[in-house]
């Protein structure tokens, strides 16, 4: 090391020049360094589930969805709805907002009594209702519409929510700020709560800015001040801090040149450098101050020759420790390890070159306050010497106390929460917490799960039916609320446009309706525009991570156990009789299953599904007959048709229409020929105009009216059977939501097509599967809570792996470099004594394992190494030239101890200030790293000497002759 020291001092001008030029160059590159804009960049990109989640969330704008919630005693008042409308309109005009959906800009599709399908805004855009009766009707209508409750309005009508989808290209935080501003200005007297990714990011930014403005300057002021108190000289402050600043610039520049973007962990690298990178600089400065004079070429060269080995040793071990993170399977950890290793490398390199080169130019005159000869420092030296003696006398109690701390922390570590909580970054009472509470209270939770259905065309009725069934099952699961999918939208449109309450049973019918839905922005959240992917979405209720995990497991099981991978579409009426009967039984069973799920959800009752299936099966085998009342309805419909412009023939003798309609409705046989004959009889030539073909078309249409009435009759009979078996009574009004659900389910009795899985097909037909009617699809659970759950497990294992790898590598290095298993284990013990209290404190404070945990633990370990290793190496060192053995050892020990104390006292109070930050990660960084500094110092000053005692690291009694390892370092 003498050669190294003399080279640095000989070429000190060159060193300074290179550092200056390098700093400019690295600063230029560091300025180009950007934060990774990916909010979920920490997820392991190569993981299949993560890839699937990212694909799904990009496709359905999941991460672009934000919310504005408004709480009130009653949403359905003129004033509240007025304010809601103002907010809706205000945020609609914000640049970066793609789509806004709320009660006041919602379209309502309904059927007028005359059969007209009416599409109109739910609330008149020109005037919010003032009439109490009108408001009451609106309230009733909205709260009885399942797709609205829990999505746009709370069940109790006391909270309304606006859903905003942002443009993926929009700058998130700027858009969020603009939304917040526009909404607050639109309704200044309302308490609005903002939720979603962009909103949370904006809150994070605003809290971070406030913290940085308030506390970071104090920290920046405290550290130099405390360092000055410790060092006693301006150079003692300036040089270590300048070195660490240059190291930060060089490190960030290196990351930029490497093409890296800052993640939530790599952004901590400046803090890592500040905490670990100041140690070598302070070490050299203290050693120089211990000399008299404290500067000048010769002194600096001598100190550098003596201390650089120890500093390099500690630096190399910390560097290797961070580099061991490269073995992790998490990109986030690997990048952090690499960035931190680069930071350690530059800070050690600069502390051993730049700092001594600069110091060598400074005056060598004595510095009274800093010198160990000064009165104050004499007192420090005496105190440290006494402490060292005390440690030797009280080795056992000290080791016992250390063991208790370590074991206690280990026991506490088992209780660390493992569930990641996204909200943990925000202080309690902050907006994200308020949004979470409101979403919990009024909208069934903030987290959304998605079950993705992928197929050639997910609009196929077979797939829509699977989505519908999944929705019915999901809403019965504990902790899962308000499922919705495109199946519900199709059902709604089919009801209002075609007057059929269930799903269409053929793809052609869906295609026919589709042009009315195409391009609607709200569909983007549930259906891919190419129709190859669609999601069933549901909210996960509750804030207990265990409950969420349980709910997700139930959903996963449901998806795996109840959704097949392929279905075969059967044209029931195309089958020969015995097979047709069996398929009809399957249709009845399917319908019974849906109805029973509806009954259980709405009433909590379990009904005999098998019995219902059998009863519905009997109904299907014996088609319903038209009652006189049915025929009356039919007659009026035929009459309306013949009078309408839709009629293919024009009836001149309008007076004959009622009689004609009555005669047609009374027919038992409804073949087109029979009906045409009746038309001819009832309407003699001259009573109508049109071609023969027109008459045939009219007969065909009337036959269709018969079929429609028969379907309605079958629905009514099915409903009666279901009500009876469910114990709901034959008459009286059902709850509107139950009635709507049941009608949609039981309408399936009229389906001509049925989709069945392979097992059912084989059981019913005993034949090979009909490949031409196969509908293949994949259903898969995803969503942020799912990925979070998975990531929690990955993270925990990755952390354990990183800790294990780090410990093994550090232990091996310690033993190898110190040439002594005893010293190696002793140094590792100090490292554990530094890190374990951090883990124990995390457990006591209820801090869950998250990405920051790695930063805390690796920093604590780094501190342990930085403190313990020079001391452990020093204990292996022989006498200092020109002094007696005992005095030399004491001198070296106190110098190292003094350097360590200066480092702790300079950094710990400064970092404690960070513990006052509102932003939780900064708060925790301050808290845990202060703890690590203190425990590291205690470990090095108390535990290490107690462990090694008066023995050399190789276990032999000290003799004065330098050990091989000591001479090497």
């Amino acid at each position: 090391m003498r050669l190294f020291a003399s080279t640095v001092i000989r070429y000190r001008s060159l060193v300074l020049a290179v550092v200056c030029i390098g700093t400019v160059w690295f600063a230029f590159h560091a300025a180009t360094l950007r934060m990774d804009p990916d909010l979920l960049g920490f997820l392991p990109a190569e993981d299949d589930d993560v890839r699937f989640f990212r694909e799904t969330s990009e496709r359905f704008f999941t991460n672009e969805i934000n919310m504005i919630a408004l709480e009130s005693d009653d949403i359905f008042t003129h004033d509240t709805l007025g304010d809601l409308r103002k907010v809706t309109r205000a945020v609609q005009t914000v640049r970066g907002v793609r789509h806004v959906l709320g009660l006041t800009n919602l379209l309502d599709v309904a059927r007028d009594p005359d059969g007209t399908t009416v599409v109109r805004p739910l609330i008149d855009p020109s005037e919010v209702p003032t009439d109490p009766a009108e408001l009451s009707a609106l309230r009733k209508k909205v709260l009885s519409t399942p797709v609205l409750v829990g999505n746009l309005v709370s069940k109790d009508g006391r909270a309304a929510m606006l859903t905003l989808i942002l443009d993926p290209q929009a700058e998130k935080m700027a858009t969020a700020r603009a939304i917040r501003k526009a909404a607050v200005e639109a309704a200044p007297d309302r308490h609005l709560v903002f939720g979603g990714f962009a909103m949370a990011l904006d809150t994070l930014r605003s809290l971070g800015t406030r913290d940085i403005a308030r506390w970071v300057p104090l920290t920046a002021l405290a550290i130099p001040l405390l360092l000055f108190l410790g060092m006693g000289t301006l150079r003692g402050v300036l040089l270590p801090l300048a070195t660490v600043t240059v190291a930060i610039v060089w490190s960030l520049g290196t990351l930029a040149v490497d093409g890296m973007e800052l993640s939530m962990l790599t952004a901590l690298v400046p803090a890592v450098i500040l905490i670990l990178g100041t140690a070598p600089g302070i070490h050299i400065m203290v050693c120089c101050h211990a000399e008299n004079p404290p500067g000048g070429k010769e002194v600096v060269e001598r100190v550098l020759a003596r201390e650089s080995g120890k500093i390099l040793l500690a630096g190399f071990v910390i560097f290797a420790g961070f580099l061991s993170l490269m073995l992790s399977n998490l990109t986030l950890f690997r990048e952090f390890g690499k960035a931190a290793a680069i930071g350690v490398f530059w800070s050690v390199a600069l502390a051993l070159t730049f700092l001594p080169a600069w110091l060598s130019y400074l005056s060598g005159r004595p510095v009274r306050s800093a010198s160990l000869t000064s009165q104050r420092n004499q007192r420090v030296t005496v105190a440290l010497t006494r402490m060292a003696d005390l440690v030797q006398r009280r080795r056992i109690p000290i080791l016992l106390a250390a063991a208790v701390v370590c074991l206690g922390s280990l026991v506490l570590a088992t209780g660390i929460p493992r569930h990641m909580d996204m909200l943990s970054a925000f202080p309690r009472g902050s907006e994200p917490h308020q949004a979470e509470r409101m979403l919990q209270d009024h909208f069934g939770g903030s987290q959304v799960l998605q079950v993705s259905f992928r197929a050639a065309d997910v609009r196929a009725p077979a797939i829509l039916e699977q989505m519908e069934l999944l929705e019915k099952r999901l809403r019965l699961l504990e902790g899962v609320r308000y499922p919705q999918s495109v199946a519900g939208v199709v059902k709604e449109l089919n009801l209002n446009l075609n007057h059929e309450p269930g799903l269409p049973d053929s793809l052609a019918k869906v295609h026919n309706m589709w042009f009315m839905l195409e391009g609607q922005a709200f569909l983007d959240a549930i259906l891919e525009r190419g129709y190859g992917d669609s999601v069933v979405m549901a909210r996960i209720g509750g804030s207990d991570p265990k409950a969420i995990a349980g709910a997700l497991e139930r959903v996963e099981r449901l998806v795996q156990e109840t959704i097949p991978e392929e279905l075969f579409v059967v044209d029931i009426h195309d089958k020969p009789l015995p097979v047709r009967q069996r398929f009809l039984d399957e249709l009845a069973a399917r319908t019974a299953l849906k109805a029973s799920l509806d009954i259980r959800f709405h009433t909590g009752r379990d009904m005999p599904v098998g019995e219902l299936a059998a009863a519905l099966g009997r109904l299907l085998r014996n088609p319903p007959e038209l009652t006189p009342a049915d025929r009356e309805v039919l007659a009026s419909r035929i009459e309306a048709f013949l009078l309408s412009g839709e009629s293919d023939v024009r009836i001149r003798r309008v007076d004959r229409i009622p009689d004609t309609a009555g005669r047609l409705a009374a027919q038992e046989s409804v073949s087109p020929d029979t009906l045409e004959a009746v038309l001819r009889e009832s309407l003699p030539p001259g009573a109508w105009t049109g071609s023969e073909q027109d008459l045939a078309f009219t007969a065909e249409f009337i036959r269709m009216l018969f079929a429609q009435r028969l379907r309605e009759a079958r629905l009514e009979q099915s409903m009666n059977i279901t009500r009876e078996l469910a114990g709901l009574g034959p008459g009286g009004e059902l709850d509107p939501a139950l009635a709507e659900d049941l009608a949609a389910s039981l309408w399936g009795m009229n389906n001509s097509y049925l989709s069945v899985d392979e097992a059912t097909w084989l059981r019913v037909t005993g034949r090979e599967r009909p490949w031409e009617s196969r509908v293949a699809f994949e259903a898969r659970l995803t969503g942020l809570p799912v990925i979070n759950l998975k990531y929690e497990r990955i993270l925990f294992h990755a952390l354990l792996g990183a800790v294990f790898n780090g410990l093994v590598i550090l232990l091996a290095l310690f033993i190898f470099l110190l040439r002594s298993p005893g010293a190696g284990f002793a140094a590792v013990s100090v490292l554990l004594f530094t890190s374990l209290p951090v883990v124990g404190a995390m457990s006591l404070l209820g801090v869950s394992v998250d990405n920051m945990t790695l930063a805390f633990l690796s920093l604590a370990a780094g501190i342990g190494v930085a403190y313990a290793l020079p001391s452990a190496a020093g204990m292996a060192e022989g006498p200092v030239e020109g002094k007696g053995r005992v005095e030399a050892r004491a001198h070296a020990r106190t110098t190292r101890a003094r350097a360590l104390l200066v480092h702790v006292l300079a950094l710990a109070p400064g970092l404690t200030i960070l513990a006052l930050c509102a932003l939780v990660p900064l708060h925790r960084l301050g808290l845990f790293i202060t703890l690590a500094l203190v425990s590291g110092a205690a470990g090095t000053l108390l535990v290490l000497p107690a462990l090694l005692g008066s023995r050399t690291p190789d276990g032999t009694e000290r003799t004065g002759a330098p050990t091989p390892s000591a001479s090497r370092v």
């Binding site: 640049r95 399908t117 599409v119 919705q484 939208v489 446009l497 295609h511 026919n512 042009f515 391009g519």
Partner: protein
């Protein structure tokens, strides 16, 4: 999730077509800008849109998603006065779907798979039309003058640029439009649609391929609308224009709507 926008306004309004008005005549040279106020320019531009008694055309609508995927739909359109009828020809899955508008309040839709004509009342203007970048408001606009007040922004040798702001009481979904009117024959060649605040440009409609039919109807064959918010485009190509064929009123009935498209 109940937002179901329907569209029952016929396609003719969006053809971006029209004819040179009788007042101008086929042989009328384009006037110079001197002496023409913004209102007069707009009146002339509006006149180009209403030069026929009836018309039929075929329209091909291509919606191009931001990722480049396309969806093509072909329709046949008949129009007379306020009555309009459109029938879907392609894709095959939509063939036979019919839309009929008798007046602003009477709309019908026919879905061949259901074999029923349904009356639909759509009280919406700012909803998109069938997955295109057109809204109901764009589709139903026959002229600009009735709804907007013009002011002259600037002019070049070939075009005037007018800023159109909604008249008081208008329920337009736009804060303003900026239109480019060519000085020769007064066709509107470009429309810029701004949001309610009038600050953000939402989409741009460009009309091209103008052809003079029968010496008096000056129609665009290509209309491209680019949505700047989602980068989607709708390209409409109109062909087979026929004017003043004496279409009978009873063509525009529910009965005709059910007839298969030929």
């Amino acid at each position: 999730m109940k937002r179901i926008g329907c569209f029952f306004v016929l396609l003719c309004a969006l053809t971006g077509s029209g004819s040179v008005g009788p007042a101008l005549g086929a042989e009328t040279e384009a006037p110079s800008s001197e002496g023409l106020t913004a209102q007069e320019i707009l009146d002339r531009a509006d006149a180009v849109l209403t030069t026929y008694e009836d018309q039929t055309l075929t329209s091909t609508l291509t919606v191009i998603e931001a990722d480049g995927t396309e969806r093509v739909r072909e329709l046949k359109v008949w129009e007379k006065g306020t009555m309009r009828m459109a029938k879907f020809v392609n894709p095959p899955s939509e063939r036979g779907i019919g839309l009929l508008t008798l007046d602003s309040k009477t709309n019908y839709v026919y879905l061949p798979e259901y074999k029923r004509v349904r009356r639909v009342a759509a009280h919406v203007r700012n909803q998109t039309w069938g997955g295109t970048e057109f809204t109901h408001e764009d589709m139903s606009r026959i002229s600009f003058g009735g709804e907007y007040t013009p002011s002259l922004l600037d002019e070049t040798d070939t075009h005037w640029r007018l800023e159109l702001t909604p008249k008081p009481g208008s329920d337009s979904g736009y804060g303003k439009l900026v239109i480019s009117v060519r000085k020769e024959r007064f066709p509107v060649e470009r429309i810029e649609y701004f949001d309610k605040s009038g600050r953000e440009l939402l989409k741009v409609e460009e009309r091209s391929g103008f052809t003079l039919y029968d010496g008096k109807h000056y129609n665009a064959s290509n209309v491209v609308v680019t949505n700047l918010r989602n980068n989607r485009r709708t390209v409409m190509i109109n062909s087979d224009y026929r004017f003043d064929q004496g279409l009978r009123d009873d063509l525009f009935t529910e009965r005709t709507l059910k007839l298969p498209v030929r």
